[in-house]
Symmetry: D3
Subunit: 190 residues, 6 copies
């Protein structure tokens, strides 16, 4: 790895898709989450649509699943892989909808970007459906929450994301208690 520490760039800083062929296929899983903030009356509309058999969450779920499959087409340096499963679910809060995407595969690279992309697109789809009635809507705290598989072992975010107002010193917990390895360079390809 070059000294600039960005694995997707070669030592001269040029973009590349790094070689993953030496890696063995292993079972991998990633969970990402984000929140779509909105007015309480808007979450009420979504909840009430959901209760009344409306399509609002199903549309966002399908959008997220489809986006997971299209990740390497959207994120330029991301490897193609064949996804084993995708689950996209929602928790309707008082003033937000939480989106959670879980992706699994049996492949040479992880599915972190697939889970993040599924989350983002599902959130944007909810945004699209409520934006004309609620100008306050925004998407926030899109982050990886759990990752398993691969040579580097697992990862679990144990602390809440710092408030957006005070990002100067982001604190991120890495819970190593249930993982069997360190995060090392050899898994950094994706």
């Amino acid at each position: 790895m070059s000294d600039h520490g960005l694995t997707h760039l070669d030592p001269l800083g040029r973009a590349r898709m790094v070689d993953v062929t030496p890696k063995e296929p292993t079972h991998r899983r990633a969970i990402a989450r984000c929140r779509v903030y909105m007015q309480p009356e808007t979450t009420n509309k979504i909840a009430s649509n959901a209760v009344l058999k409306g399509d609002v969450l199903a549309v966002a779920r399908v959008a997220g699943i489809q986006a997971a499959k299209r990740t390497p087409d959207l994120i330029p340096l991301c490897h193609q892989l064949t996804i084993g499963s995708v689950y996209v679910n929602f928790v309707i809060g008082d003033a937000d909808v939480e989106v959670e995407a879980t992706v699994e595969t049996l492949d040479r690279t992880g599915v972190e970007m697939e889970a993040m992309t599924a989350c983002a697109v599902a959130a944007l789809t909810i945004y699209d459906m409520v934006k004309s009635t609620d100008r306050s809507v925004f998407v926030s705290e899109l982050a990886l929450w759990e990752k398993a598989g691969g040579k580097s072992g697992g990862y679990r975010r144990s602390d809440p994301l710092e408030p957006a107002e005070a990002p100067a010193a982001p604190v991120v917990g890495i819970d190593d208690t249930d993982v069997d390895g360190l995060w090392d360079d050899s898994d950094r390809a994706d």
Copy 2:
């Protein structure tokens, strides 16, 4: 509009792409922004790559531009349109990279979703390039900041987004001082 107040759903709650053919093509513009939070040493790496002619921001810029063009393929109920221009730019802060996407068109629907999608995908591309060296990275505060054109006039977010820790009462400013119309139903299609 049905009583549930979500324009992309019919009165029975079923998803639909609403009819925009009665609308006149007008010049429209939307600006969206988000932040990718990371450790200060990671922003340093990005800045130093940028200084040294590396590709890191260019890759994210291209990803954002391409995503703007693919928005209706990603967001199910979003209309197709032909984009007039896309600009994606970045501001490297102490512990974050701010992404801003500006999209213009001359069409029957707005480009709000195109600006939001460009922003999200550019941010995810930065995330992808730094994730192996900085597990703290996350994307936040993805929001529309300005919108112009269309029957409803313009919109400008004047207040900061509320801290993510306290979303119960999101406050959003609508600055009407330089716009000539109200936000009405007739423009809500997209």
Copy 3:
């Protein structure tokens, strides 16, 4: 038009996308329908999922809407256009689900292929969801039922499709009573 009577081929029989630039944009609409035949207990499962707020029909609806937008990417000689609206709906019968897709545009070519493609893909999506529990499932009678706009006036299928067992003499009714023109070559481009 060449003597072989297939407008998408030149006089030497070579495929082409014919020129539609001389045509004026007009409001156009097309309605297509098909049926997904299955065992009665399978329609019961779909109905019961729908009643219980499940996603089965919403998934198929989204798939149909997305397919309408991708029609020129799937059907090689089909022109691109910007769709004004898409509606995909379902009627659950005793032993079939009827799919209906309505597409509108304001453009130089019709949306017949968009409606047909939306119908087919929505039907295939239902097929995909029931195929493991009902091996009898098949898709049938995919046809255009109504078309309006364009120089040639409208079209409406007034008779039922002939039984598939006796296709030798298909009878198709053209209901001219509410249309103001004949079907002529000039509209055959798409």
Copy 4:
């Protein structure tokens, strides 16, 4: 599997891409067929174009092959896989063109949807090329005819599809005589 019996939905009826990673890759094949009904003079035009080296069937064949590769992009809950081979062929009858698509793979899920989608899109492409000269055209009897590989063994449709006029009691034959297993839940994922 939940009690509603639709494997692509979870027990709460929510759409998901089920996990196929526990399955072993095996050689799998699927054959689907459908018919494009039209006037006899239209089949004559197609036959005569084919005789005269025209492109009509080649265009439909390419469209079908490309659609097979895009199946997971069209059918939301369908898994990605890498197709081993695709064959799309046609039989020109008196008043119809029969389309047959054969797809093979060596993967964890079957290629039934790929064969069905290839068939449907090849048929729609023929429809697109004849629709301006023959308003009677429609697509029908799109069904799986044979399936091999996977834990559940094979499947072969032995009876004709029932006439579309009498769909109330669809009869589908499952010919188990040359297959070595039962159709069981464990293969229902795709």
Copy 5:
């Protein structure tokens, strides 16, 4: 325009899709050509396949037409537009196949990239079909030959491309005799 003279980059050298909304839609046409060089016995195989109703040229033609429609998805800074017509044809020579793509539109930007992309992808498709029997195959001289429409008037390449062995002083003829304008900055957007 900035002083570096590359219109797709802003004065700081950053990529952008320039704004075309101020431009008026006009009828535009572009013709591009290239050659696929190969052994004479390979051109014989292609010619003989063509004579015998084989698909070889039809497959390449469809690939070129589809690629024209996908140009803005492939070329990052290229604008979307709706293509009016595409023709892709071939001339089989002694030791090459010449590919010619003609694209027309009625839009705000030209179709030069669409014609070039159609040509390149049709040529690559021929390459793909002959590569296993002829390792000498290569694609060359991919160039714009004619362009009409837009504020800048037309363009026609009147001289042959210089031999590839002596590219130091490429000579390109611009035949202004049948065009009514100069090539100016205002049309350089696309």
Copy 6:
């Protein structure tokens, strides 16, 4: 293989995706190159943009990488595979920019078309960015330069491509000195 010698066509000349499932996955690599010819002052602009941290080469690099991943979507009879790595680089000459794409995989078919497609699209992207300031630009000599892996062993082009002016007798060198096998039919599938 049929007697016409084109593996992608069956004995009747019909297009097909040949079966690759009997082949074993092996490590494979392909290197393709082409040249974008232009005026010396245009290469100066590109060099100067590159020196000044502009995006011109990064945009082309990303376009090439993305095109490699989309190859089976562009080239109809090309198999899908999962790419292990892609590198796209450039050498700025006096009157041309040389493009080189290297693609690796561990799969059942080679990545020759992926390397060729990456090269072509990266070249077209450069063409797109300079075309408004230099009408002389064209793309030439797109060829495979090296191929390794697969049953047939390797291949390396040892002679320069013949000048385009004298294509009648293309001479292609096959350097067998460092490869351990012959080029045989069994690897011709892709």
